[in-house]
């Protein structure tokens, strides 16, 4: 015998088989509720209001929540409510599973929060028939099933907190990790207050975001230069430092943890939260950064065949990581794919949901290294190319990062090249996007040959006041663009694909979402492809770290995907040299 339940405000009527919970039936019908504690019946997040029909018999926990949270009296937890007759129920917004955007700008992608860290209010009775049970047993029994591990140190703290209470609190809040380990247990109902940290650990720049785990809301973000820079500007010199002198590995580890701890303090301060309230951090960095963050030797990354020590690791204890978040919190590292295609890329793949895109897609993360992932049907293949720092404005005579005063766009007005700067400030230099524009325009104006030779009698390309590109600058751009172009061409040809057969091109990294597609295509940095198929996603490593922080499902998928991506060594390809030399020409793809 099944019953019919009308669901408001959706207006749908669903069938609930006899004996089944409303939560199960709603889930089955695609009406997603917050089943935060995994239907243990303890978190009180899935309450619905029974507008008409039998309300059944609410349990003690439900009655306590209704009273404490001043819920409508005819409320039931949907994971406990088994309708025995037709009914009408209303789902309040608070009980619905929210969806949160992965990217703040750019592509539309939403995920449903499913954080590993959950803060659950549990009732922890001091009296009654079980009052003589051991404290630990009473706490563990509060979780009903899948009783979590409780570290001895935490038990000591709980005992101290319980003893310090003047009157027993009806609720305690458990901080539960992955449903199986108790990270903390504090008096009062502070459920839903869990915080996490998402980190893009770049070789040059690190960015951290403080995130509310249950809503996905970003409370603040902070960034700084990676303090390891004093050991070497780029990733290879960082590896070299650790290779030549293994003691440096520890120094670099200390430097990066100190830098991250400064960001954590800054975020906690600006968001008026305690750093100890952060129970998990997800770090997305390249393979070398991940190794150095853990203080692992990098000698094997230094020389051929360039093997790393790990690709994927279980979450480690925050106290062990050196990060000053909750000492029993967890630190999770986005899985590395290979030595030069790291967790920043696997995070980027997760953020952009490359796995579920139909057809053939190319993912390109441009920085000092250009990492490329090609998805063809179910297959993934990745490679890295040494683009050098030109696209970040480095190694260019008048180059600079994308900061105020950087020329970031250029066009032609009348006969002249006209430029725009970030923030409209007086031009101080040129950043990556401006550089691409200028080279493309110089070609169009006949100031430059496709071979990259400046024809201007001044042997320079002036663009703003006294600022000008030199012959060497053009050569730097040629080398950088050729590296990226060669990587893309080789990956495509290894899959037997033409660029025209791509269904999408995702560009992450240095260029943000500013890059002029027509200009980039004219010099061959991007393949000739319908511009509607190109998406700029900016810092997908950070977006991915946040997605992994907020969703265990995303994390599991990312792990699986990272292990599945095939890696090719471009330098080992016999066509590499020919295509590379050919690609130095500032020309659209053949």
């Amino acid at each position: 015998m099944s019953v019919r339940v009308k669901v408001l405000p959706d207006g749908r009527t669903i069938i609930v088989p006899a004996g089944r919970t409303l939560a199960d039936a709603l889930e089955q019908n695609g009406l997603r509720l917050s089943l935060y504690c995994g239907q243990r019946g303890i978190c009180g997040k899935c309450f619905v209001e029974i507008i008409s029909g039998e309300i059944g018999e609410p349990g003690a926990i439900e009655r306590r929540f209704i009273e404490a949270r001043k819920l409508p009296p005819r409320s039931r937890m949907s994971c406990r409510y088994r309708p025995g007759a037709d009914a009408v129920v209303r789902i309040p917004d608070a009980s619905r599973l929210p969806e949160m955007p992965v990217f703040r700008t750019g592509i539309e992608r939403r995920i449903v929060p499913d954080p590993a860290v959950r803060t659950i209010a549990v009732s922890f009775s001091e009296s009654g028939p079980t009052a003589d049970a051991a404290l630990l047993d009473r706490i563990r029994n509060g979780f009903r099933r899948e009783k979590p591990l409780i570290p001895a140190g935490l038990l000591r703290e709980i005992a101290r907190r319980a003893a310090a209470q003047s009157s027993p609190s009806p609720f305690w809040t458990a901080v539960l990790y992955d449903g199986r380990e108790l990270l903390d247990f504090v008096p009062g109902d502070v459920s839903g207050s869990g915080l996490g940290l998402a980190v893009d650990l770049g070789t040059t720049t690190m960015v951290a975001e403080l995130v509310e785990l249950d809503t996905g809301r970003v409370l603040g973000s902070a960034s700084s230069i990676n303090p390891q820079t004093s050991f070497g500007a780029d990733v290879v010199s960082r590896i070299t430092a650790g290779y030549m002198n293994p003691d440096r590995v520890g120094d670099m580890r200390d430097a990066v943890t100190a830098g991250l701890n400064a960001l954590i303090e800054e975020l906690a301060g600006s968001s008026r939260r305690e750093a100890e309230g952060i129970h998990e951090a997800v770090i997305a960095g390249n393979t070398a950064m991940n190794h150095l963050f853990l203080g692992l030797p990098v000698a094997t990354l230094a020389v051929a065949p360039f093997a790393g020590l790990f690709s994927s690791l279980p979450p480690l204890a925050a106290s062990e990581s050196g990060l000053r978040i909750h000492p029993r919190g967890k630190v999770t590292i986005a899985p590395n794919i290979r030595s030069f295609v790291g967790g920043d890329i696997s995070a980027g793949l997760a953020a952009t949901d490359l796995e579920h895109r139909q057809g053939n897609h190319l993912f390109l993360d441009l920085g000092t290294n250009g990492e490329i992932v090609l998805k063809t049907g179910p297959d993934f293949v990745a490679a890295s190319t040494a683009a050098g720092p030109a696209f970040e404005g480095m190694s260019i005579s008048c180059g600079m990062l994308a900061l105020p005063g950087a020329v970031h766009k250029a066009g032609i007005r009348g006969e002249e090249i006209s430029v725009r700067t970030i923030g409209g400030a007086p031009a101080r230099g040129v950043c990556g996007t401006g550089l691409i524009d200028l080279i493309s325009l110089a070609l169009r104006k006949g100031l430059l040959t496709r071979g990259g030779h400046i024809l201007n009698p001044s042997k320079s390309i002036p663009f703003a006041g006294t600022l000008a590109l030199t012959q060497k600058d053009v050569r730097e751009v040629q080398l950088a663009a050729a590296a990226v172009k060669t990587g893309m061409r080789l990956l495509l040809s290894s899959a037997g694909l033409e660029a025209a057969e791509l269904d999408g091109l995702i560009v992450a990294g240095a260029f943000g979402n500013e890059l002029n597609i027509a200009h980039a295509t004219s010099i061959g940095l991007l393949p000739r492809i319908d511009r509607n198929k190109v998406q700029f996603v900016g810092n997908s490593s950070l977006a991915g770290a946040r997605a992994l922080l907020l969703s265990r499902a995303e994390r599991a998928r990312c792990e699986k995907l990272a292990a599945r991506v095939r890696h090719v060594n471009l330098a080992g390809d016999e066509e590499f040299q020919r295509i590379y030399i050919e690609s130095l020409e500032l020309a659209p793809w053949p």
Partner: protein
């Protein structure tokens, strides 16, 4: 019978333009017209490759042009060399270079360019490839009676192996037998001096110049 006699200027132009087929054709047409192979090389093709060097210095030529010109030179030499008397070939060879990318390093475009430019400029080049163990460099140099060992390293982590090669030569009492030429993106003149190498080339043409100096033949072919 009328024979078409190609001009020496055309030979130079074929190298400058990097047209391999044209260079090879001019070389064989020259042989048919009974031009002296040595004259064709010294007065035709070599001035061409010299001009390429100048165009590189001036920034007009870049790697693709350099590569194409080296290929054109190589194609012409492949036609002319068999026609040279053994003594002339010996005279025209600037020396023998054993070349490779150092142990632990797999990057070899730069090394290949150096090899092409060295042979275009008259060196005999034995290219050992990439990720070449130090011992193999030494064995090859000994058995080929090389004048120069050329070591490329593209990573700061692998350039340390350049030092190891110099040390190994010393330990084996062979340091005096070979000149050591180093290059690669992270390598500098200071580094070359520090490890006791004999020469350093910042780019492919600079490497040719350095190799010439090492064998005491600044004149070229």
């Amino acid at each position: 019978m009328d024979t078409f006699v190609p001009s020496l200027e055309a030979m130079a132009r074929a190298v400058i333009a990097g047209t391999r087929e044209v260079a090879a054709r001019l070389a064989s047409e020259g042989l048919s017209a009974r031009l002296e192979p040595r004259d064709m090389i010294e007065k035709g093709f070599v001035p061409g490759i010299r001009k390429v060097g100048e165009l590189w210095e001036e920034g007009e030529y870049f790697l693709p042009e350099l590569m194409a010109s080296a290929e054109a030179m190589k194609a012409a030499m492949a036609v002319l060399k068999p026609a040279l008397e053994a003594s002339a070939a010996e005279l025209l060879s600037l020396g023998r270079v054993v070349l490779g990318t150092i142990e632990g390093d797999i990057h070899d475009i730069g090394k290949n360019l150096v090899g092409s430019m060295l042979s275009a400029n008259g060196f005999d080049v034995i290219d050992l490839g990439a990720d070449v163990e130090i011992g193999r460099f030494i064995e090859a140099a000994v058995s080929a009676r090389a004048d120069v060992i050329g070591l490329s390293a593209l990573l700061t982590t692998t350039m340390v192996n350049q030092r190891r090669l110099v040390e190994r030569l010393e330990a084996e009492g062979l340091r005096g037998s070979f000149k050591v030429l180093v290059g690669g993106a992270p390598v500098s003149r200071a580094w070359a001096a520090e490890i006791g190498a004999d020469g350093y080339g910042e780019n492919a043409l600079a490497a040719v110049q350095a190799a010439r100096e090492l064998v005491g033949r600044k004149d070229g072919l």
